[in-house]
Each structure stands twice: as structure tokens, then as C-alpha cells.
Symmetry: C2
Subunit: 326 residues, 2 copies
């Protein structure tokens, strides 16, 4: 139904097509037409409505296509294969399944839309069609389990550098791996690991990036805490395939540095990009509330927090972090 409307609008070559004509051609009411138009808008089509003139197709969703992705990723060797989906429950779930079935390292799952995108701690990840990047990659790093949190921090550094390359914005890393622009979240990273004793079996690296979302795409309660590259850089849509390629190049480079030189250079880069350090913070940890000033990462990737008495406490994991009250 909405496909037929799309055809009719497209045949108008950017000119208005009257609601009456659409209604007659499809044999449905003008209210029904309007509902189909809304569906198309959700898919990323930009449709202008005029009470007098009808509807006009003003913009198509920019779809990620295989040839375009292949072209952009030509210079990287970290991606071994790409699975591109229109709509999935969660790219993370699909990559998990592929990993269990033996998919090699570098298997990359990308979807235009997620119906149950997952963020850290089971939180939902807003994933409207054609607007963001929703991807999960199977990694089989030859690393001991203890090093997985370092990989989480490395991923944040790679993504931060990639986004800054695409759009020169003040993007910073909130420990451990959220990216923020002026306090608003722009991307999320979720590394899910499966290990056997002290050995990593595989890691599913999930990345969500709010690239071309507009303010209309967010539930109202998220507007004060979430933004997109497009909103933050002034309104023009960005090329998602270029963003993906930029991340993969950064990740490949930093991973090579990490394997040859260890965590120390990654640690330095993370600290330089962090918006978490040197600000009084209250952390909800499994062991209770910790108040202090985060001063650095330690060797294993934990956040070192200086307490009131001057002691430095390594924080391995925290539910949430925020400025202390009052």
C-alpha cells in the first residue's frame, strides 16, 4: 500500500500529487492515505503536505547499500563479511547467533532499523529506520578474559576519533564508553563477551550511533540527554557509510597499536578524550556509593577515583555516575 503511494509520489518528480488522486488510485479514504504517508515518514521519506496541493516527495531515505559499504571499507582488513538487514530485533542478537554458529572474526551485522535495539544494562536504544548506524561485529581476539574491559575502552577511543573526523564537534568519552556532545549522548557501545575460563571465546561489539536523527525522532524525555551528529552539526544529513568506514579504520589502527604496544597508548588517548576525569562524581557501584574525583584509568582499565582522604580506589563497574548533589 505505502509502496504504491511512493510510486505515485515518485512519478510526480518532486511536484505535488493531490490527496484526491491518491485516494482514487488506491481506493482508500484520504485519512487512510494520510496514515500511509506517516508510515513512509517513519521509514525516512521526507514528504511535504499542503492542504491545497496534496503531497510532495521532498527526500528519500539514504539507504546503506552493499556496493557503497564495500567501496568505503576497501582499505580496511578488519571486516571479513557484511550482513546488511532492513529491519531486525537487534543486530547484537543476530551477531551472537552467528558467533555461536562459528562466524569468523570480522563478521559485521548492520541494520537500517532495530525493533528492540539494546544498550548497556538492558536499556532500550532508539533505532529509527535509515537514520542511525546500528551494527554489531563478531570479534575473536586472542586475548585473556581480563583484557576485555580494555577492548571496551579502545572501542570508545576509536569511535570518538572517527566521529570527530567526520564532524569537527566537541565529542568526549564518558566512562567507560558513552560518547557525549555537551553532555548529550550521541552513541553507545556494548561489548558482550563469552569466555571459557580465562580465555575469550568471542566478543560481540555493538555500536549505535545517532547520525541523522532529527529532534522529532526522539521521545520528548530523551531530548535533554540525547542528540545526533546531524543536530549537533547544524542540520545536514551525513553519509553513514563514511562514518562506518571511519570507525573501522580507527579501530583497526588502534587494535594494532594495542596488540604491539599494550594498553598504555590506548589509556593515554582515552584519558585525553575523556569528559569524566577531574570532575567530582558520585558512582553507584555494586559495593555501594563512591564519591570522589576520577583521576585516571589504571592498567586493567578500571577508573581510578580519588576519595576524600586522598586514597585512589579502582572502580571496575558502576550503575550510573552523576555529579554529587548540592
Amino acid at each position: 500500500m505505502s509502496n504504491r503511494i511512493l510510486e505515485l509520489l515518485s512519478s510526480g518528480s518532486g511536484q505535488y500529487v493531490s490527496g484526491e488522486l491518491l485516494s482514487r488510485e488506491l481506493g482508500i479514504s484520504r485519512t487512510a492515505i494520510w496514515k500511509q504517508i506517516k508510515k513512509l515518514e517513519v521509514q525516512g521519506y521526507v514528504i511535504e503536505a499542503s492542504p491545497r496541493l496534496g503531497y510532495r516527495l521532498a527526500g528519500k531515505p539514504s539507504k546503506l547499500t552493499m556496493p557503497e559499504l564495500m567501496e568505503h571499507l576497501r582499505d580496511t582488513s578488519i571486516v571479513s563479511s557484511i550482513k546488511l538487514f532492513e529491519s531486525v530485533d537487534s543486530t547484537q542478537n543476530i551477531a551472537h547467533r552467528l558467533a555461536e554458529e562459528g562466524a569468523p572474526s570480522g563478521t559485521l551485522v548492520i541494520a537500517e532499523q532495530q525493533t528492540s535495539g539494546r544498550g548497556r544494562m538492558g536499556r532500550q536504544w532508539v533505532s529509527p529506520s535509515g537514520k542511525g548506524i546500528y551494527m554489531s561485529m563478531v570479534l575473536r581476539p586472542d586475548l585473556p578474559l581480563q583484557f576485555a574491559p580494555q577492548l571496551t575502552l579502545l572501542t570508545a577511543v576509536a569511535l570518538c576519533r572517527a566521529l570527530k573526523e567526520i564532524a569537527p564537534l566537541p565529542i568526549g568519552i564518558k566512562w567507560p564508553n558513552d560518547l557525549l556532545i555537551e553532555g548529550k549522548k550521541i552513541s553507545g557501545i556494548l561489548l558482550e563477551s563469552a569466555a571459557e575460563d580465562e580465555r575469550l571465546r568471542h566478543v560481540i561489539m555493538g555500536i549505535g550511533i545517532s547520525v541523522n536523527l532529527t529532534e522529532d525522532d526522539y521521545p520528548e524525555e530523551l531530548l535533554p540527554i540525547a542528540t545526533s551528529l546531524r543536530i549537533a552539526s547544524g542540520g545536514e544529513p551525513l553519509d553513514r557509510a563514511a562514518v562506518i568506514a571511519s570507525f573501522m579504520k580507527q579501530f583497526e589502527h588502534l587494535y594494532a597499536v594495542y596488540i604491539s604496544q599494550g594498553f598504555s597508548p590506548i589509556q593515554t588517548l582515552w584519558e585525553a578524550l575523556s569528559v569524566t576525569l577531574h570532575k567530582p562524581t558520585k558512582l553507584m557501584t555494586p559495593q555501594g556509593v563512591v564519591e570522589g574525583i576520577p583521576v585516571a584509568l589504571n592498567d586493567s582499565g578500571a577508573l581510578l577515583v580519588r576519595l576524600g582522604d586522598g586514597r585512589e580506589m579502582p572502580i571496575f563497574s558502576a550503575e550510573s555516575m552523576r555529579p554529587p548533589q548540592g
Copy 2:
């Protein structure tokens, strides 16, 4: 078919029942009877055969029963529920599924038999019916991912102490978590972890213990490297429920020590029980072959190996370890 034979043998109250009678009652050949008898033996029944007298039921497999397990585990609080199976592919697989479905910490899966028991690195675990302990427990420890390898070492200490309590044998720990008696393996531990970034989501603690296996239960190639508590302690079968309870008590105790005092006391106990330390060793690590003398564990649970030049190298994971050649 074999159930009917069992009935007939049981009705003999320990006396011989002729093959002729069995053959007539079941309407099958004496060769077919013999095949059914073999099946029963595999299930743990002890059946004596006499060419002249026929067959005699000399022993039944000792089955683990729920009331017996509940009774033995009454004093522990770490087990929240028990699922007892006759035969499964792998208790580890079942516990994984339960964990994914939300099973609480302490959910314990026990099976009399595994058809595809799994050991470390995808190796098979010999799991004949009624002879060993094959169990997997869902744990949801509030620990950062980095600490999972410490849990592996803690499990080895708990199991070693439990088995020594049951049978006073020279049982030692081979790094990280195999238990050996005079170089022969008596149990295996496999901790499979699922993590989200720096947080452990759940751990499936798999334990296989060769309790009452006899030499006939092992493929010939395993005899030089595998043994059972029964073989090592002189031939009498042991009470498996008591072994399970002994382990759970030790694990519960040591876990409480670990949570309140950290890894250091566990480290000390592990080192005292280890058969790995202070012997020249060749380790196949993902980074290559390392030769040296293991001297201790480090804080994060890695094995510290002193190299020829006196440096100490932390080994996080190794494919195999054996004495250097020649």
C-alpha cells in the same frame, strides 16, 4: 527390552537366571539377550555371567535422588534449586539455557549421564551413566569481568579441598583448574562467563568428577592420564551426593572469604595445593611458547613464570603445559 530383562534378573533376588529362560520370556535370541545385558552394564548395573548358569544381578547403579541431595545440601545456602536429569547432552548447555531464561544464581543442573559432556577447549568429557558427577551451576556474582579468572581458581581450590575431605588422597591442582592424582586427571572445571562490557552477567560453573568410574569405563588411550576417586582409593564406590555436598560447602565458605577478604587468601590456598609451581614447564600460549618455572599466581590470577633471564612473566592463558623435552 532391557527393562524387562532387569525385572527378570531382579525377581531372581541375586540368583542366576538362565539365558534360556530370558530368551524364551522375551522371544529373542541368546545373542540379543547378551547385547541387552551389555546395555545394562553401561548403565551401571553389575551383571555376572556364567556359561552354565546364566546371568545374575550383582549390583545396581547407585542413583542420585532428589531427597538424598536435598538432605546432603541442607546446611548450604548457595544452591537455590536442583534440576536432576537422567541423561542430557551436556549439563553446561542446559545451565546456559536456564541462565539465558533468567534462572537465579544457585540453579544447579545435575545429570547421571552426558552424551556430549564438554571439557576445556571443546574437549570431550567421558561421562558414563551413574559413575561420575556431571553438574553445572548458574552463578550471578556481583563481580567485574576482570575477576572471573579468580573465580576459576577459587573453584579449583574448593573442589580440591572437598575431594581430599572425602578421600585422603594426594590431590593437587594443575594450573588453572584441573585436579590430578599422581599426574592423572580426576576432575575438570569449566567456567563459562557471559559479560556485558565490564560486568559479569552470569557464570556457568561446570564440574566433572570421576568418582566411581572403573578402568573399564575409560578408552584405553586415557588410562595413563585419567583416574577416578574409586580407582585411586582402592576400589570401593563412594557416595556421590556426599561429594557434591562437600564441594558446595567448600565453595560457599571460600566464596564468602573471597568477597570479604579479596583474592589473597584464595591465592595462598591455591599455591599450597598446586602441583604446577616450582617445576620447569613449557607453555603454549597464544603469543608463542614460553619456557620457565611457574613461581606464583599474581593478583589477577595469572600464572607468574620465571624465565631464564630472571624476569617474571604473567601467563593469562595457555593451550597446554608440559615439561620441556630432553
